[in-house]
Symmetry: C2
Subunit: 331 residues, 2 copies
Amino acid sequence: MFLNDIPSKQDIIDAHGRIAGQVHRTPLLTSASINAIAGCKIFFKCENFQKAGAFKFRGASNAILSLSKAERIKGVCTHSSGNHAAALALAAKMKKIPAYVVMPRTAPDIKKKAVAGYGAAIRYCDPTLAAREAALAEIVKETGAVFIHPFDNDAVIAGQGSAAKEIFEQTEGLDYLITPVGGGGLLSGSALSTRYFSPRTTVIGAEPSGADDAFRSLRDGFIHPSVNPKSICDGLLTNLSERTFGIIRGNVGEIVTVEEKSIMEAMRMIWERMKLVVEPSGAITLAAILENREKFSGKMIALILSGGNADLDNLPWTNHGAHRMDTKGPS
Amino acid sequence: MFLNDIPSKQDIIDAHGRIAGQVHRTPLLTSASINAIAGCKIFFKCENFQKAGAFKFRGASNAILSLSKAERIKGVCTHSSGNHAAALALAAKMKKIPAYVVMPRTAPDIKKKAVAGYGAAIRYCDPTLAAREAALAEIVKETGAVFIHPFDNDAVIAGQGSAAKEIFEQTEGLDYLITPVGGGGLLSGSALSTRYFSPRTTVIGAEPSGADDAFRSLRDGFIHPSVNPKSICDGLLTNLSERTFGIIRGNVGEIVTVEEKSIMEAMRMIWERMKLVVEPSGAITLAAILENREKFSGKMIALILSGGNADLDNLPWTNHGAHRMDTKGPS
C-alpha cells in the first residue's frame, strides 16, 4: 500500500460532514477525582453515548452514505462480534436499506439483541474465520449486498477518524491521544486525524496483553495473526489488516499492552467515579494510563471511550462475569 | 407554618448564585429510544454527575455557605443513610471545616466509603430514629457543630431547588417535572422553583409503593410516619417533615407510587440505553412514567436523576442484589 492510498485530510473532513446529520457529536468529559488518581489531565471522548452505543456508528454511517444509489438498493452486509454489526444495522435502517449480519454464536447477548432490534437479518456461524467468511460469501452471492468490513475499509476508517477530529475541535494542547486497538479501524482513523489536525499529539494504541497481536506486529514489522486471544475486551480480539497496519506503522507512536486486572479496575473506576457505563474495550485506555503513571505524569491526554455496550448480567467484577474471559474466540 | 416562611424566589436565586462556584451545572440529556418506548419527550437532569454523586451536594453546599464564620469554625453534623452525609462531608472538606456524620450500620458500603473518603468523622448507630437522634445529640453537645438536617432545613431546600431552576434555564415548555420523594427536600425545593420559574409546569413526586408515606400524607392531609418501609430505593425511606409537607401540599400536583419491579426495569433501561449509572432512587422517576403511559403520552417531561451512587457489587437485577429489599430500615 502506498501512502497516497490512505484517507486524506479532505476524506476525513468529507466523512465528518457527510455523517454530521445522523451521528452524535459526543461530549468530552473530565473527572477531577480520576485526574487526581492518575496524576494527569484526562479528557474522555464519550463514544459510549454514540448511537448504537459505540464509535462504530461513525464508520458504518460514512460507508453507507458513500455508496451509490444502485449499491444501496441491494443493501449491506458484514461480519462482526457486535458493535460494528449493530452500527451497520442501525445506519442501514436509517437509510431504509437491507442489512445482513454474520455473527459468531458466542457473541454477547446484548450485542445479538441490539443487531436484531435494529432490524438486520442475522446469520449465526461458528466462531472461526473460515465459518464467518463462508457465511458472508453466501450472503453476498444470494443478495448482492455490499460487504462493509468492520475496519479494512477506507470509508470506515475515515468515519472513525471523525471522533478524533471532534476531540481536537473540543480541546487543545493534547500531548497524547489513546484509543483501543482491535482490527485497527479506530486507531488508524484516529492516527490520521491527529496527523492532519493536531500533529504535535502522539497517538497510542491500548491492547489487552492477552490479545497483543498489534503490539507484536508493530514491533516486528509484519502482521501477526490473532491466535487464541484471551481478554474480556470482546471487541479487541481481531488482528490488523494490511490497510490498518500500514497506517498504524506510519502514524502511531506506540502500542501499550494492558493486563486484564487493570482493565477491570479502570472500567469500575469509570462507572463509580464518572457514572458512565463503558464496556471493557472502552476502559482499556484508562487502564493504559494507570499502568504507566510515570510516562503520563502531568500530561494532557484524550481517551476514546469506544463503547458502552456492557453486558449488565455479566459484569467482570462478579464471579459470573470472570468466566467470560476464557470462552471468547477471535471475532 | 405560614406560607411566607418558605424559601422565596430570591432565596433560591441567592442559593444558586452562592453555590455556583462549587456545584456542577449538570447536563439535561435526552434518549430517542427511551422517548420512543415511553411515548413522550423526556429530559433527564443528570444529578448523578453532581459532585459526591447526587443532588444532595447542592443543599449541603448552600447550608454550609450560609453559615456565619463563628458557626463554621465548629463544623457541621448530620444523620443520613448516605448521599446527604457524603455531600455534607465533601462540602465541609472544601471549606476546610469539620464534619460529623451519624450513619446507620445498615447503610450501603459504597455510601459509608464515600463519607469516610471525604474525611468526615463517622459515628455508627442502630437503624432506628431514637438511636440516630441520641448519637447526633451527643455530637452536638461534644463539639458544638451545627446540625444540617438532610431535608428539614430551608437552606437545604433552597439549594435543592437550584436543580429545577437550571432545568428551566436549559429547556422550555415542560408539562411536568418529576422528582423522587423521600423526606421531601428535593421535591419541595423543585416545587418552589417551578412555582417561581415555570408556573405552567406541574410537579409530581415519585415514591416506592413499599414506602408510600408521602403519598398517604398528601392524600390524608397529615404526615404519616414511614413505618417499616420496603424498597431498593434506600434514599426514599424517610417520612416528610412539617416543613417539606407544608411546601409539597401547596405546590405539588400529585404523588405517584411505583412498584419495585418497575424501578428496576427503569434503572436498567437508563443504564442500557443512556449508558448512565443511576441509583434506584434516581430511576424511580422514569418508572413513574412507564407505569402511567397514558397520563404522560405526548408530554414534555423533565426528570431529576437524583443520584448515581449505585452499589456495583449488589445490583438489583442480580440474585444477590434482590436480598437488599428486605433488610432496609428507615434511614
